[in-house]
C-alpha cells in the first residue's frame, strides 16, 4: 500500500464535519489528506455511526467493523483531524470561507486527556442500564464505552443513570480510576471554531415500529427489529452471534422478514428507504450460514435490488440459501400465547388468498428516518429540510451535495436514503466541494 506524504505549501484552512458516521469519516479523511485541518463533531461518545453496529455488509458479506475500524483509527491518528465526540454544534455565523461555529462539548465527566480506556471503572460501576448500542438487548454500565473499538477510547458517564450524579452517593469509579480521570464537576463547555466550510452528515435513526400495533412489536417477544437481529447475529453482540427465541431459548427454524415497516406508507413515511430489501436478504443468508436448518421468508412489496451486484446477491440467496420471497405486505402478526410462536397473516397476491404462516421469529425491517434534531440543526446552520426531514439540496441533479446555503454541504443518509458505497462516494464528493471553498 502506498502512503501519501502531506505537502503543506501554505497554511491551510479548517473545515467542520458534523456527524462521524461513515460519510463524515470519509469527508474528514479526504480533507485532512489534502492538508486541511478538520474538526469532526460527533454527538455520540464514539465516531463510527450505524455502520459500527452492523455485523456484515451486503453484497460482499464483509465484516462491517473490520473495514470501518481502520478508518476510525485513521481519523484518530491523523494529525490534521480533531475529533470532538459527545459534542453538538450550537451556533454558526459568518459566511462561506469564513464561518465561525460554536460547538457544545457535553460533559462526559471523564477527562479525555487522562482516561486510558482501561475499563476498571466500568467493571466496578454498580448501575446497569439498557444498552442502546445493542438495541437494548442487554445492559451497559452508567460509565461506559459504546463498543470495544470505540474511537476515541474514552469512557463516558451517563449522567441520568450515574448514582453519584443523581443521588450524590457511590463515587466508585473515581476511587478506582488509576489515571484520576473521573471528574464529577465537569460542565458543558463551548468552543468557537473558525472554519471555511461545513459538511453535514448526520445520518439516520430507526423508525419505531411500536407505532404499528398490528405487528405486535413490544408485545410479542419474538417480534424484533432488523437492527436487533443485526446485533444478535453479530459475533461481538449481546448474544455472541446466536439467534434465540423467547422464552424457549432455541434457534429459530422459521424466520419471517417483513419489509417496508414504516416506509412506502402514507401514514408514516412515504419514501422508500432504499436499503432494507438488501439488508433482509443479507440477514436471511446469515441465518442460513449460522443454522443450516433455518428457513427464511422475505415478505416484500417490490424487491429493490438496484446496486452493483445486488441482483446477483438476491438470486444467490434464493438458489443457494433457500430464501423464499413472498410478494405481500402482511396485515397482521398474531402470537400463540402458549408456544409464543407467531403467525404472519398476509394476502398472497399471486394466489389471491389470505394465508397465515407460522414462524418462530419475525423481523421488522423498519424504515430509516433522518436522525433526530435535524430541524434544530437546520435552523442553527440556516439550511432547509424537506417534508420528510432530509436536508434540501440546491438541485438534485446537478448540485446534490450543496445545501441552500453557500459553503455548507450535505452527504450521506441525511441527504436522502442511500447505502454505504453511496454514502462514501458522497462523503468524498462533499469533501471536494468543501475543498473548493477552502482553496478560494
Amino acid at each position: 500500500m502506498q502512503q501519501v506524504k502531506r505537502w503543506l505549501v501554505i497554511e491551510m484552512k479548517s473545515m467542520l464535519v458534523i456527524g462521524g458516521g461513515i460519510a463524515g469519516i470519509q469527508s474528514a479523511l479526504d480533507l485532512a489528506d489534502r492538508g486541511f485541518h478538520v474538526y469532526l463533531v460527533e454527538r455520540e461518545p464514539s465516531i463510527g455511526g450505524h455502520m459500527a453496529l452492523l455485523d456484515k455488509t451486503f453484497p460482499t458479506n464483509d465484516c462491517s467493523m473490520c473495514i470501518l475500524a481502520p478508518k476510525m483509527n485513521e481519523c484518530n491518528a491523523h494529525p490534521d483531524i480533531d475529533i470532538l465526540s459527545y459534542s453538538e454544534v450550537a451556533g454558526l455565523s459568518g459566511e462561506a470561507g469564513d464561518f465561525s461555529a460554536r460547538v457544545m462539548r457535553r460533559a462526559r465527566y471523564v477527562n479525555e486527556d487522562k482516561c486510558t480506556g482501561c475499563g476498571e471503572c466500568r467493571a466496578r460501576c454498580p448501575s446497569k442500564v439498557p444498552n442502546e448500542y445493542n438495541s437494548n438487548l442487554d445492559t451497559r454500565k452508567a460509565i461506559f464505552l459504546p463498543y470495544p473499538q470505540a474511537v476515541p477510547r474514552v469512557m463516558t458517564i451517563d449522567k441520568d443513570h450515574c448514582i453519584y450524579l443523581t443521588k450524590g452517593k457511590c463515587g466508585v469509579c473515581r476511587k478506582v480510576c488509576s489515571a484520576g480521570a473521573v471528574d464529577y464537576e465537569q460542565e458543558d463547555t463551548f468552543v468557537d471554531l473558525d472554519v471555511a466550510a461545513v459538511i453535514v452528515s448526520t445520518g439516520f435513526e430507526l423508525f419505531d415500529p411500536s407505532q404499528m400495533p398490528e405487528y405486535g412489536y413490544g408485545r410479542y417477544a419474538n417480534v424484533i427489529t432488523a437492527m436487533q437481529y443485526e446485533r444478535m447475529i453479530c459475533a461481538s453482540g449481546p448474544t455472541s452471534g446466536h439467534l434465540e427465541t423467547s422464552p424457549a431459548k432455541q434457534h429459530p427454524e422459521k424466520i419471517a422478514f417483513i419489509q417496508c415497516v414504516g416506509s412506502r406508507d402514507m401514514q408514516h413515511n412515504p419514501y422508500c428507504c432504499s436499503v432494507c430489501c438488501m439488508h433482509a436478504v443479507k440477514e436471511s443468508i446469515l441465518a442460513k450460514e449460522h443454522y443450516d436448518e433455518s428457513q427464511s421468508y422475505i415478505f416484500y412489496t417490490d424487491l429493490r435490488a438496484t446496486g452493483k451486484g445486488f441482483e446477483e446477491y438476491t438470486a444467490r440467496a434464493e438458489k443457494d440459501y433457500g430464501v423464499q420471497y413472498i410478494r405481500s405486505r402482511p396485515g397482521q402478526i398474531t402470537e400463540d400465547a402458549g408456544t409464543k410462536k407467531l403467525t404472519v397473516w398476509y394476502d398472497d397476491t399471486v394466489n389471491r388468498k389470505v394465508k397465515g404462516l407460522e414462524v418462530d421469529m419475525a423481523v421488522l425491517c423498519t424504515c430509516l428516518v433522518p436522525a433526530k434534531g435535524g430541524e434544530k440543526l437546520a435552523k442553527i446552520l440556516g439550511i432547509e429540510i424537506d417534508e420528510s426531514g432530509f436536508f434540501e439540496n440546491m438541485d438534485e441533479l446537478t448540485s446534490p451535495l450543496d445545501s441552500k446555503r453557500s459553503g455548507i454541504f450535505i452527504a450521506g443518509y441525511c441527504q436522502s436514503p442511500k447505502d454505504i458505497p453511496e454514502s462514501v462516494a458522497q462523503g468524498s464528493g462533499a469533501a471536494a466541494r468543501a475543498a473548493e471553498v477552502g482553496s478560494a
Partner: protein
C-alpha cells in the same frame, strides 16, 4: 541480537471463539528469540496499539509479529505503530489467524495448532526481514479525464475549480454524453439540456481545462503521479480553428443518413453537429457517407464555407499529455434488444426502445416532441412499456439497470400529460423507485391512471394493422394475458460501453462479471481502482442515475485531488531488485512482468534487466522467472522462504 514481540488478537470471538489464544500464547512464548507474547481483545483499538508501542519502547523489541486478521485489514495500522515506536515499519509480520484459521475451521484444537504454525512461520520470516525506506516520486499535478458525459464534466469542473489542470478527452464530436440525449429528467421533470448546457459551456471556457473532443486515448504508460498519454485527435475533415459554426455546410449538404444521436428516429447530414448546443460547435464530416470522399464528386460544403475551413485531406493528429492521475468516466451503451427475438425489435416497426421514445419526446428531437409511431406516423393511443429488457435476465445481463423503472414511469407520465386519453401499461417485475422523491413520483403516476401490470413479457407479435400484441403472465391474476397496443416501448438496460475492453487494457484496470469496471472495494473504495492513481466515475463503474453519477463524479474528483495535490508521493519499497552483476540479460523477467516495470539496459557491452521502482508492484513473478536468481523481491527472499518452510516442516524455528 533479535528481540521479537508477538501479539495475538482475540477479535472479540472472531478468533478467540475457535482458537485457544492462551494456549497459542504459551506455545509461542517458547519460540527462539521471542521476548514477549501478549494477547488482547481488539489489538487494532487504540489501547491495543498502545500496548505494542509501550513494549517496543520499554523492552527494546526490534521485530514484531501480530497474529490477527488479514494483512489487508491492518498491516498499515501496525506498520505505523512500529514507526511511531521508533523501529523500521517493515520489521513486522502478520500471521493471519482469522481468515486463514478461525473463520474457516470448525475444530478448536486443530485450529489452534494451525494458528501456531502460522505464528512460527511469521516468526521465521520476521527474523529475515530487512529495514526498508519508502521511495519518493514527483507528481505531475494534472488529471486526465476520459469521457465527457455528465460524470466527466462534473469531475473536470470540480478539479479545475480548485485550481488544478484537467485534460478532458471525449470520443464523440461534442461533450454532453447520454444526458444530452434526454428531454426531461426524473423525478423533477427538469429539462435536461437546461441544466446540462451551462456546465458544458463552463467546461469549454474554463482556462484550466484542456478539451480534446472527437479524440481517443491510444496509449497510457507510467504510474501514479506520472502518467503519459497519447491521444489521437481524429480528423473532422475541417480545420476547427477556422470554423465559425455557422452551419451553412450542414444546411447545404445533399446527403441524409439516419442519425445515431436520434437513435435512428430522425435523419442527419453527412457534415453535421450532434445537436444545436454542441460544445465545441464544430461539425464533423462523416467520411463513410460524404459523397466527395466516397465518390470524388460534390464538394458543396467546401464551396459554401465562408471561413474556408473545410479540408477533406486533413489527417488525424497525435497529442501527448503528462498527468498525475486518471479518471475513467466512459459511460454506458443501451442494451441492444435485437437479440431478444421474442420481443420483435428490428422486425416490428412499432416496437421501439426507451431511448428512441426519449428522442421522440424531446422538443428538439426529430418529431419536435410529438410521440408518433414509426409504422404510419399515427399518434399511439395505447402504449405498453416492457421493463427489464436485457436486465435481471439469465440469458442477457443478470444485474438490474437501476434507472429503467423511473425512466419508463417518467415517460409514461409525459405522454399522459400530452394525451390524457392515452392508455398506458407498464409491465414490470418489481418497481424500483428507491431514490429521493422516487416513491412519491411513482405514486403520482398511479394517480394519473397509468396501469402497472406485474409480470414479465414473454412475447410480442404483430397484427396486420401494425399494432403489436403483448403477451405476459399477469402474476397478480395468475393468468396469461394478451394486450393489443399501438406501440410497445422496450425499457432496455445499461451495458458497458462498446470500447470498454480497450480502455480496460490501456489502464490495466479490472472488470467485474457484469463487464463494468471494478472498484477497489465495493463498500469503502467505490471510486478507486486497484491501479493506483486511476479512478472511476459514473456509469462506467455500474448502472446509476444522474444524481448518483454526479455525486460519484465529485467523489472521483476528490480522490484524484488526493493524489495530485501533493508534489511528492512515497512509494512502497517492497519491490524487486536486480543484482546487475549476476544478470545475464535474457529478458525472461521483462516478458513475464504484468506491469511493464522491467527494461533491458546495456551495461558494460552486455544486457541487464533494470526495474522501475515506481511501476513494480512487488508481485514476485520476475523472481520466479529469473534463471539464475539474480532478481530478489525485498523481504521475500529465497532465504526467508526456506526459513519459513523449515519452521513449519522441520519443527523448531
Amino acid at each position: 541480537m533479535t528481540n521479537i514481540g508477538i501479539y495475538i488478537c482475540h477479535c472479540g470471538t472472531n478468533i478467540a471463539g475457535m482458537i485457544d489464544v492462551e494456549e497459542l500464547a504459551r506455545k509461542a512464548a517458547k519460540l527462539k528469540d521471542v521476548s514477549v507474547v501478549k494477547d488482547y481483545r481488539y489489538l487494532c483499538s487504540d489501547p491495543g496499539q498502545d500496548l505494542i508501542k509501550e513494549d517496543i519502547r520499554s523492552m527494546d523489541l526490534d521485530r514484531v509479529v501480530v497474529a490477527a486478521c488479514s494483512p489487508r485489514m491492518h498491516e498499515s495500522t501496525y506498520r505505523k505503530v512500529l514507526s511511531e515506536a521508533g523501529i523500521n515499519p517493515f520489521l513486522l509480520e502478520i500471521a493471519n489467524i482469522r481468515e486463514q484459521a478461525s473463520w474457516v475451521h470448525s475444530e478448536k484444537e486443530k485450529t489452534t495448532e494451525k494458528a501456531f504454525d502460522l505464528v512460527r512461520i511469521a516468526v521465521a520470516k520476521v527474523k529475515k526481514d530487512e529495514s526498508l525506506e519508502s521511495l519518493p516520486a514527483d507528481v505531475i499535478q494534472r488529471v486526465l479525464v476520459i469521457g465527457a458525459g455528465i460524470a466527466g464534466i462534473q469531475t473536470s469542473l470540480d478539479i479545475a475549480n480548485i485550481g488544478y489542470e484537467v485534460v478532458l478527452v471525449e470520443k464523440e464530436q461534442s461533450i454532453g454524453g447520454r444526458m444530452s440525449q434526454l428531454g426531461k429528467t426524473f423525478p423533477t421533470l427538469d429539462c435536461s439540456a437546461c441544466i446540462l448546457t451551462p456546465r458544458m459551456v463552463e467546461v469549454s471556457t474554463n482556462p484550466k481545462i484542456r478539451l480534446h473532443t472527437y479524440s481517443e486515448v491510444e496509449e497510457i504508460s507510467g504510474f501514479i503521479g506520472n502518467f503519459h498519454a497519447k491521444i489521437r485527435k481524429k480528423s473532422r475533415g475541417l480545420n476547427p480553428d477556422l470554423c465559425t459554426g455557422c452551419g451553412e455546410c450542414t444546411a447545404r449538404c445533399p446527403t441524409k443518413v439516419p442519425g445515431e444521436y436520434d437513435e435512428g428516429m430522425g435523419k442527419r447530414k453527412a457534415i453535421y453537429t450532434l445537436f444545436p448546443q454542441a460544445v465545441p460547435n464544430v461539425p464533423v464530416i462523416d467520411r463513410a457517407n460524404c459523397v466527395y470522399i466516397t465518390k470524388g464528386k460534390c464538394g458543396i460544403c467546401k464551396k459554401v464555407c465562408p471561413a474556408g475551413a473545410i479540408d477533406y485531406e486533413l489527417g488525424d493528429e497525435i497529442v501527448e499529455e503528462e498527468v498525475g492521475a486518471v479518471v475513467v468516466a466512459s459511460g454506458f451503451d443501451p442494451f441492444d434488444p435485437t437479440s431478444k427475438e421474442e420481443l420483435g425489435y428490428g422486425r416490428y416497426k412499432n416496437v421501439i426502445t426507451g431511448l428512441q421514445l426519449e428522442r421522440l419526446l424531446h422538443t428538439a428531437g426529430p418529431t419536435k416532441g410529438e410521440v408518433i409511431r414509426p409504422s404510419d406516423g399515427a399518434v399511439p393511443k395505447r402504449i405498453a412499456f416492457v421493463q427489464c429488457v436485457g436486465s435481471r435476465d439469465e440469458h442477457a445481463n443478470k444485474y438490474c439497470s437501476r434507472v429503467c423503472c423511473m425512466h419508463a414511469i417518467k415517460n409514461a407520465l409525459l405522454i399522459k400529460e400530452h394525451h390524457p386519453d392515452a392508455e398506458i401499461f407498464i409491465y414490470y417485475i418489481d418497481i424500483r423507485a428507491f431514490g429521493k422523491g422516487y416513491e412519491e413520483f411513482y405514486k403520482r403516476t398511479q394517480e394519473h391512471g397509468i396501469k402497472f401490470m406485474r409480470g414479465r413479457v414473454a412475447e410480442i407479435f404483430e397484427e396486420n394493422n401494425g399494432n403489436v400484441v403483448v403477451r405476459a403472465d399477469d402474476t397478480l391474476l395468475g393468468m396469461v394475458m394478451e394486450n393489443e397496443v399501438d406501440m410497445a416501448v422496450l425499457s432496455v438496460g445499461m451495458v458497458p460501453r462498446s470500447d470498454s475492453a480497450k480502455i480496460q487494457k490501456l489502464l490495466g484496470i479490472a472488470t467485474g462479471s457484469d463487464g463494468f469496471f471494478m472498484e477497489a472495494h465495493a463498500k469503502l473504495r467505490p471510486v478507486e481502482t486497484l491501479v493506483d492513481g486511476v479512478f472511476l466515475a459514473g456509469t462506467a463503474q455500474g448502472p446509476k442515475d444522474i444524481p448518483d453519477t454526479v455525486a460519484q463524479a465529485k467523489g472521483a474528483a476528490s480522490s484524484a485531488l488526493g493524489v495530485i495535490s501533493h508534489k511528492v508521493l512515497e512509494l512502497s519499497p517492497l519491490i524487486s531488485e536486480v543484482d546487475e552483476r549476476l544478470c545475464r540479460g535474457c529478458g525472461d523477467c521483462k516478458d513475464i512482468c504484468e506491469y511493464g516495470a522491467i527494461e533491458l539496459i546495456t551495461l558494460d557491452s552486455r544486457n541487464a534487466a533494470r526495474i522501475n521502482p515506481a511501476l513494480c508492484k512487488g508481485c514476485g513473478a520476475c523472481t520466479v522467472a529469473c534463471c539464475n536468481g539474480s532478481i530478489k523481491l525485498r523481504n521475500f527472499t529465497d532465504t526467508a522462504t526456506f526459513a519459513m518452510l523449515e519452521a513449519v516442516l522441520g519443527g523448531e524455528a
